[in-house]
Amino acid sequence: MSGPSPPAAVSKELLDRLEGIVGRDGLICDLQELIVYECDGYVIEKKAPDVVVLPTSTEQIVEIVKVCNQYDVPFLPRGAGTSLAGGCLPVGGGVMIAVTRMRGILEVNLRDRYAVVEPGLVNVQLTQHLKGTGFHYAPDPSSQGACTIGGNVATNSGGPHTLKYGVTVNHVLGIEAVLPDGSLVELGGPSEDSPGYDLTGLFVGSEGTFGICTKVTVRLTRDPAAYRTMLAVFESVSDATNAISNIIGAGIVPAALEMMDQGIVEAVEGAFHFGFPLDAAAVVLIEVDGLDVVVEDEACQIIEICNQAGAREVRKANSPEERQLLWKCRKQAFGAIGRLSPSYCTQDGVVPRTRLPEILEFITQCASRHDIRIVNVFHAGDGNIHPILLFDERDAEQVQRVLHASDEILTKCLELGGSVTGEHGIGVEKISFMDKLFTTTDLEVMEGIRNVFNPDGRCSPHKLLPSAGACGMEHIEQSHPGRRAAL
């Protein structure tokens, strides 16, 4: 089934029922206010939901979902709306369940190394809460100052530390979720190896298509004993990728290995004046963490390797303040892009690390072929690239060129043995790639699994899996984006 039909404008009766559950100030149905929710970080497609509800408890979410079923209306969850793939786009309208008011930290157990949190909790707030305990929550996407744990679960979020520490699914022990039929289920829990199939692992990354998570039990990670943070400046991208390859080849697993190209460096330097050379082709932030004796040794090896690869200079942080400064240039890179262009689109692709030079070369050519500017910042350690395509969204023709370039880059990622999404998810943005990445049988199997959880297709319809009848290229053909529900 491709979803409930017809796409609904919600009735007054339904609104009343919803108001009965969440109260007047838990309901947004005024058109002006709904515009806020018409898109997430993927601004190319917009569609306002018919209503937004802001529940404050699991019980309310259960009731909301049941009511949506009764009225045959689609619904979907939303955290902070930082998705870059349209994960929060309410295709076909319906009820948006914003979990931002459920942001409690319900339990912290240091001895057993877990915490139980509500889905609307902002990611960084968990780690901030743990400061001083010797523990932190490891998955730290760049948007962690805004994104929610529930959203992290939906997209299996990553961030700069995944090479060493893994992604969200490696840190989730259990989930409580409201299934699309309104039933509540508990998967996993604070102890490991709960007998049964790993539905917790399956749920993470399901992009809201299996239900709405209402509690998450997460693993807490020891703070590293020590850090060494370096910034290496290279004359060419290939020098930088050689150095990276050799660092890995030396058996070092850096905690972070972030690369920025000249374009980004220019923006960051203009905004923050870190004293970076504007003519450097690539700058690599390298961090190792662990025992002091180990990281000292690894840092020496890394500096040696970078120099041998032709680094112009390697700066090393000699204090926590200097370390924060080096990181600032990476973490605020996106904030600085506004200097370069009014709009930008952050792509998310993956290639095997050894193919990085090829994809970067391809991106350069692609930019020139489509006459657009692309700057790059990415998680070099795991081959996860983030080419940032710059444009002015008022220029419709340029937008088309951006979309074409974006598609070409992702197609090339697949050709090189990679993936079309390392951490942002498929959402709506990349549904057209699913049949390039997966066979018909693969998609059939996935649809079967989705139908176990979401047989009527009301929950997050038209996400992740291609819908029957959709040709997949809608986002390019439409000049006034606003994805129509496939019927």
Binding site: N156, D193, G196, V253, G383
Partner: protein, 414 residues
């Protein structure tokens, strides 16, 4: 009702993945015979026994290394490859898949994944679900599907790799696997300490929560288990008190530094005995500890999972009942062997029920890893049903609607 014996004539060894896929598909539309995949046959004890004759599919014919781009730190292999052979290939590039699998010379990669085998180093390295990044598998309908990929960062599609880890071959036959890898540490060492009581060990474990060292394994043995491990390993372990064993890895300097740190930190917890094992002895000990779960003439071996902070209580109580236990103390996993004076089904049931109840009250459960086949039908092998089990049955029904893959092996046993 006991399991029907294997009919040795009905065995089949596919030599390619596509051959396997055709066989399963033909079977699903034709004969509809139950299929029983096996690898190295080293963990067949886990799961309900067969009740219907079928075809044993020997996956050992599929043992190619498909691709090993060492600089990408991933490897793609077929399921019949043994863990030892895999380790040898990886060691050449100074890499490893850091999972402790017993009987590695026989155990297959596919089997380890299907049974989600793990051992002492799970504390420092995680388990197979943290390493399997791509899979090709054939479901009960004969559909060959893929999930994940060859890259360590990938969120395209549903994470069916996670679904298949620990699925006991009941959802799909895994025909190809891609793992992410870790570097192989230069050296290792183990600090072995005797303590007068489990509560003393518990205090030490609490101290270790914020240790300046980073041990990769925190193992506890009660005296019975210590004796068994000492005998098997031929290492000079003290066996009259519970033991705490801390394994550290890294460069030689790092290992030495950590061992010193750990001794300093735990000195004040009054260990009755302290000893340090060399790298070679540590390797030997790790092997024996990994194999503890399968080393058994004992009537029944169980695995309890519970909150780590309650594991020493469990160990204490089990010890009082004469059960030999090994605890992966940082993870709250207890492997126990019932003593051989427990001989009747009611005795076993009673014992297991009280152990399971203990674990349940501490947010856990209890699985039977192996026992005499005559008892298997009477015991809930996978513990008390978890809330997600009905949903899991529906997942099974979607991948294997005719219940042809290891029918009845898992969950409720039906």
């Amino acid at each position: 009702m006991s399991g029907l014996p294997d009919n040795p004539d009905r065995q089949w060894t596919p030599s390619t993945q596509s051959e396997l896929q055709r066989f399963v598909a033909d079977n699903a539309s034709g004969q509809k015979t139950p299929l029983y995949p096996v690898g190295g046959r080293t963990s067949l004890g886990l799961g309900y026994p067969r009740t219907a004759p079928g075809v044993t599919i020997c996956m050992s014919g599929l043992k190619r290394t498909v691709d090993y781009p060492a600089r990408d730190m991933t490897i793609t292999v077929e399921p019949g490859l043994t863990l030892a052979e895999l380790a040898n290939q990886l060691a050449v590039e100074r890499q490893q898949l850091p999972i402790d699998v017993p009987l590695a010379h026989r155990a297959s990669v596919g089997g380890a994944v299907a049974k989600n085998i793990a051992g002492p180093r799970r504390f420092g390295y995680g388990t197979l679900r943290d390493y399997l990044i791509g899979v090709t598998a054939i479901d009960g309908q004969g559909r060959m599907f893929h999930a994940g990929g060859r890259v360590v960062k990938n969120v395209a599609g549903y994470d069916l790799c996670k679904l298949l880890v620990g699925s006991l071959g009941s959802l799909a036959l895994i025909s190809q696997l891609t793992f992410k890898l870790k570097p192989l540490p230069e050296s290792a060492g183990t600090l072995v300490m005797g303590f007068s009581s489990f509560s003393a060990i518990d205090e030490a474990l609490e101290r270790l929560l914020t240790s300046a060292a980073r041990p990769v394994a925190l193992e506890v043995l009660n005296p019975m288990a210590a004796r068994q491990v000492a005998t098997e390993s031929k290492l000079p372990l003290s066996v009259d008190t519970p033991l705490l064993m801390l394994r550290v890895e890294g460069t030689e300097r790092e290992v030495e530094c950590q061992l010193t740190t750990l001794q300093d930190e735990l000195r004040h917890h009054s260990p009755t005995k302290t000893g340090v094992l060399s790298a070679d002895d540590s390797a030997r000990l790790l092997e024996v500890l990994s194999e503890y779960r399968v080393s058994s003439d004992d009537p029944l071996t169980f695995k309890a999972n519970l909150l780590p902070s309650k594991a020493m209580q469990f160990a204490e109580w089990a010890t009082q009942s004469g059960i030999a236990v090994q605890v992966h103390a940082g993870n709250g996993i207890v492997i126990g062997h019932l003593p051989d004076n427990v001989t009747s089904a009611p005795q076993i049931e009673g014992r297991i029920e009280s152990l399971r109840s203990f674990a349940r009250q501490r947010r856990g459960n209890l699985v039977i890893l192996n026992c005499d086949s005559q008892w298997k039908r009477d015991l809930p092998l996978f513990g008390e049903p978890e809330p997600g089990w009905p949903l899991m049955e529906r997942v099974k029904a979607t991948l294997d609607p005719q219940n042809l893959l290891n029918p009845g092996i898992f969950l409720y046993g039906r």
